[in-house]
C-alpha cells in the first residue's frame, strides 16, 4: 500500500505541475484563479495520502486548513480582484443577472 500512496502522491504532484500551464497562459484572471483552486484540492489529496503513508495525523490537520483557506482566497478574488471592478463602482447589483 505504501507504494500506492506515494505513487499517487507523485502522480498528483505531476498533475499540479501540468496545471501551472493554465496559470501561465490565462488568458483571463478567473482562469488563473481556477488553476489555483485545483492546486488547493490536489494539495489536500497529496497531504491525505502522505498522512496515511507516513502515519502522521498532523498532516490531516494541514489538509483541513488548506481546504478552508483555499475557499477564502477564491472569495477574495471574486469580491475584490476581479478585473474590471473598480472600487467605488456600484455597477453590479446582486440578483440582477446579465442578459
Amino acid at each position: 500500500m505504501q507504494s500506492i500512496y506515494l505513487g499517487l502522491a507523485l502522480f498528483l504532484l505531476l498533475n499540479l505541475g501540468a496545471g501551472m500551464w493554465r496559470v501561465l497562459r490565462g488568458p483571463t484572471a478567473p482562469d488563473r484563479m481556477l488553476a489555483a483552486q485545483l492546486f488547493g484540492t490536489t494539495a489536500v489529496a497529496v497531504l491525505l495520502l502522505l498522512a496515511q503513508a507516513t502515519a502522521s495525523a498532523a498532516l490531516r490537520d494541514v489538509a483541513l486548513v488548506f481546504a478552508l483557506l483555499a475557499a477564502v482566497t477564491a472569495v477574495a478574488f471574486v469580491r475584490r480582484a476581479w478585473p474590471g471592478q473598480e472600487a467605488g463602482g456600484r455597477r453590479q447589483e446582486a440578483g440582477h443577472d446579465a442578459e
Partner: protein, 321 residues
Amino acid sequence: MEAVNLMLWTFDTLLGLGLLWVAWRTLACADLFKGIVLFVAFGLLMALAWVRLDAPDIALAEAAIGAGVTGALLMAALARLRASETDEGSAGQLGSEGSDAEPSQWLPVVILLVVAAGLGHALLSLPPEAVGLGAEIAAHLDISGVSNPVTAVLLNFRGYDTLLEMVVLFVALLGVWSLGREIEQGASAPGPVLDTLARILAPVLILVAAYLLWVGAHAPGGAFQAGSVLGAAGLLLLLAGWRPRADLTARPLRLALVAGPGTFVAVAVVTLLTGAWLLEFPPKHAGTLILILEATATLSIGVTLAALFLGGRPRHDQELR
C-alpha cells in the same frame, strides 16, 4: 523498500525544482495578478515542502498565512492599486519588459552572487551530522508544561522571540492605521450563495482555530496557526459584506488587538518582579500560563489580520473620549 525510497526521492526532487521554477516565474512575470496567483501556488508548494521536511507546525502556518491570508491581502491591495491607476489607463501591468541591462543593474546581481557564495560556503562547512538542540529540548520537555516541542520552544524556552513577534504584528497594524481610514470598497451586496457560504464557513473556521489552539499543546498547532485561521474567518466575513457595529470598533476592538502582546508583556513583567529570569515560567504553572498566552495571542493575531484587510482605520471608529 527500494520503490518507496525512489518515489519519495522523486517527489522531493520534483517539489524542490518546482519551488525554484515557480519562484522565478512569480518574480519574472509582468502581470501583477498572475504574480499573485503564482505566489499562492508557491505558498502551497512551500507547505508541502515543510511537510516533507517533517515540520507540520510550519506547514500549518504556511498553509494558513502564506497560501491563504496573504493571497487575500495581496488581491485587496491589487484592487486598490488598480482603482488608483484607472485614471492613468494602466491595468495592473508593470511595464519594463526592456531587456537592455544598464550597468547599474548588474551591481545587485553581483552582490547577490557574493551572498549566495557565502551562504553556500557556510552551508557546506556545517558538520555533516548536525545534532541541533532536539536532544536538549526533549530532556527539558517535562518542565515546559506542554508536550509538543515546537510549542515548548515558542512559548516557553524562547518566549521572548514570540513576544517581539506579537509586537511586530501590532506595529504593522498601527502603520496601516496611520495611513488613513478604511477604503470604501463599493462592492455589491453579496448574493445568497456568498452569504450562506460565509455563514457556514465562518463558524467552522472559528472552531478549527479553537481546535488548533487546543491541540497545539501536544501535536502540531499553536497560537499562530490558530490565529491565522481566525483571521481568515474575519476576512471571509468582511468579504461577505459584514462590518462590526459602530460601538464595537472603538474600545472592544482595541482591547482585542492589545490582549495578546499586552498579556505577554504583563507576564514578562511579573516574572521579572518575582525575581526569576525574564519569562521564566515556574514549572508547576507553565502549562496554564502557556494556554493563557496562546489564547490571547490567537485572539489578537486573528483580529489584527482581519483589521489589516480593511486597509485603514475602521469606518465608524469614534475617537476615544
